[in-house]
Amino acid sequence: MKGLRKVLTPFAPDQSGAVSVLYGLGGLIVIIDAGGCTGNICGFDEPRWQNVRSAVFSAGLRDMDAILGRDKLLVSKIADACKKIDASFVALIGTPVPATIATDYKALKRMLEKEISLPVLTIATDGMRLYDEGEALAYKALADEFISKDGSLDEITLGRTPLTYGSDFADITLEDYRKIGPSTKVTAASASGVEAAKRLGIPYETFSSIAADLAGSIPSGKVLVCHDEVFGKTLRDKGTDCDIATFFTLHDEIKQDGDKKITEEDEFTDLAVNGGYDVIVADESLKPLADGFKGQWIDAPFFALSGRR
């Protein structure tokens, strides 16, 4: 049945992706929720929260705030926090609640900018899309506000966040984004990186260091890689003859014959069991869906998919 999950738990949502890009940049991040979404983000999806304090707050919405659309109250809460917290910008992160009441982010931004003297980023995530889309939206917001493309930064890797690569994430500062220029070497490490690089309009290359390290240990045969698209492409670039299947974005620039964007558990089962593959490279949380697969399974942990660190 479409949308029914019997084995897998939900993947990292767009709002976690947006925070993943903005975390540690010195902003005051406000998740427009009642508290549960913030709990999921900081308490689960954001590993840096344990070690690096960052100004991530819940808007603390209550039912009447949502029903009556109390935007002025929200603006007042944020303006009050800005008096107490040192921040270089404010980011508003959407969740299912503002999506349900059709919050006007442009209006919210204008209202807030009248009250505070900081740049305001609004990211219209809704908790129903996937993390890579949220990351891409955050990169777009950063580009619109901070990236003038006339800087002199040597290189930058986009899309290497903890959600895709765990502890092997790229530590990027707001200053790095400001310094991106025409000569900056841009590397896209995941689907959101590809999206961000395309939007910047600067030539880029795709590369996943973790996939590159894994490439040498993959046996020959017909290989299915179920991970992020750049992870799969890097394996392919390193000589692995593989098809890519991904639950996340699959760009036309990367897609080849045999590659597939999948959504449902059954689609993966069909590929794994009936696809004729000798090797599957994927997070082992997918294994129960491949009952009947006789080949070799190579574990490729993918936190956004399994929540497994």
Binding site: P10, G60, K77
Partner: protein, 436 residues
């Protein structure tokens, strides 16, 4: 103000009065800081018993979470526990569902598919809980009607009940953790009373087996049931035969009231306290109320001895106390101070009903500092001014990483003299280890 966590001393709060508790301490007025306490509270799948685990407290039940993916994301933590294997299922909502509400029509099919899937594996459930979230709260979804449709679609007597994970209503009249308790006990059907049966209700893990149960057995009670100790759904249904309910958590009060009016089971409340004298007084009042004779002298002596032993070994022990623990942090602080210990800092939201503890604390320990976990300036909390030797509460370890910590937040609930004794002994043990 920037760069410093907002704090008040117990004396300052007493002087301000119950009606003027600073809004920075009561929370709910501004943005909410992502502290361990607020994340644990707000992220029910991640810590303790939130709506998701609580909804599965009934034996032989499974849960279908009908929500945007973000709401079920952290359930993977719970799903990995052996007792929750094959018990969580998800029907993912998308943006079209949000606009059209079409997901509601798919729920009966999804429930049937889940039940059929489990039946094939030989573990057909007796109850399916449908967990819905803020989105359906705002859409005004009539879940009773949806659940009835599911029961009709199944047509085999499997019960289907709603479980509301509405964070938006957290401070409302029926917050989620109150509502879920009502839902669980609403499954009970009237049955013949057994005068020798008693229920202990309130928590989702058992009360530690101890003096309360012993007292009841000595008074002639044959069956003491708790939802968490019922091995089967049929055993759970026997809770409807109880002579009376003992309520150990105020969040179950509404459910107890329902059971009183619907099933004719009266209830009596017992409060967890870490004060030996108050515990003794409460047990005596309880015995009088239910007409039984109890002897608590042995347990009371043990608790007193445990306090005195800790005091003798560590006369100047200073505590910092969080709110993620099996205690009311203000009541615990007051009890510890009454025993002669010191409490340096408390990290907890101060609700008006807790003012009585702070007021008394101010008499004995006026300089105890109180911080609120929800206050945004907790981002700047600096532990360097604290002189505490040990912290209590899982969240307190976050603020005080360099001193010993006792999380004191096990699922199994400490209670009464036994709880006091165990806490004192644990503190003594941890301090001994720290000094070794």
């Amino acid at each position: 103000m920037a760069g410093k966590a907002v704090q008040y001393t117990a004396a300052q709060i007493r002087d301000l009065g119950k009606e003027n508790i600073p809004k920075e301490l009561s929370g709910g007025h501004g943005l909410v800081y992502s502290s361990p306490a607020t994340l644990a509270y707000n992220s029910p799948g991640a810590e303790g018993f939130g709506v998701k685990r609580a909804g599965l407290a009934v034996p032989e039940s499974v849960m279908l979470i009908v929500a945007p993916g973000c709401c079920g994301r952290n359930t993977s933590i719970v799903s990995s526990m052996p007792q929750y294997k094959d018990r969580f299922f998800y029907l993912m909502m998308d943006e079209t569902d949000l606009v059209t509400g079409r997901h509601l029509k798919r729920i009966p099919d999804a429930v049937c598919e889940v039940v059929s899937h489990l039946e094939k594996k030989g573990s057909k459930p007796r109850v399916v809980m449908i967990c819905i979230t803020c989105v359906d709260a705002l859409l005004g979804t009539d879940m009773e009607r949806v659940c009835s449709a599911c029961e009709r679609a199944l047509g085999d007597g499997t019960r289907v009940r709603p479980s509301y994970m509405y964070a938006l209503t957290r401070e409302g009249r029926r917050p989620p953790m109150v509502h879920v308790r009502q839902t669980l006990y609403s499954l009970l059907e009237p049955m013949e009373k057994d005068p020798r049966s008693v229920n202990i209700i309130g928590n989702f893990a058992p009360l530690e087996d101890g003096e309360l149960q012993k007292m009841l057995f000595n008074a002639g009670v044959k069956h003491i049931r708790q939802i968490s100790t019922c091995g089967t759904y049929d055993e759970f249904l026997k809770m409807a035969s109880a002579n009376f309910n003992i309520v150990t958590n105020p969040e179950v009060r509404a459910a107890a009231h329902d059971m009183s009016s619907r099933l004719g089971i009266p209830y009596i409340e017992l409060t967890r306290t870490y004060d030996v004298a108050k515990t003794a007084a409460q047990y005596k009042a309880f015995a009088n109320a239910v007409g039984i004779t109890i002897d608590i002298s042995e347990e009371e002596s043990k608790a007193k001895e445990a306090v005195e032993s800790l005091k003798a070994d560590h006369p100047d022990l200073t505590f910092n106390i969080g709110e993620c623990l099996n205690a009311d942090p203000f009541e615990l602080a007051l009890s510890l101070v009454r025993y002669g210990f010191k409490v340096g800092e408390i990290y907890a939201a101060l609700a008006p009903e807790k003012f009585k503890y702070v007021s008394k604390l101010a008499e004995l320990s006026p300089d105890t500092k109180i911080f609120c976990n929800m206050e945004p300036t907790m981002l700047y909390y600096d532990v360097s001014a604290s002189r505490a030797h040990i912290s209590l509460g899982k969240d307190a370890a976050f603020y005080c990483p360099d001193i010993p910590n006792i999380a004191w937040n096990s699922d199994i609930q400490p209670f009464g003299f036994q709880g006091i004794t165990k806490l004192m002994e644990t503190i003594g043990k941890i301090m001994k280890e720290a000094r070794a």
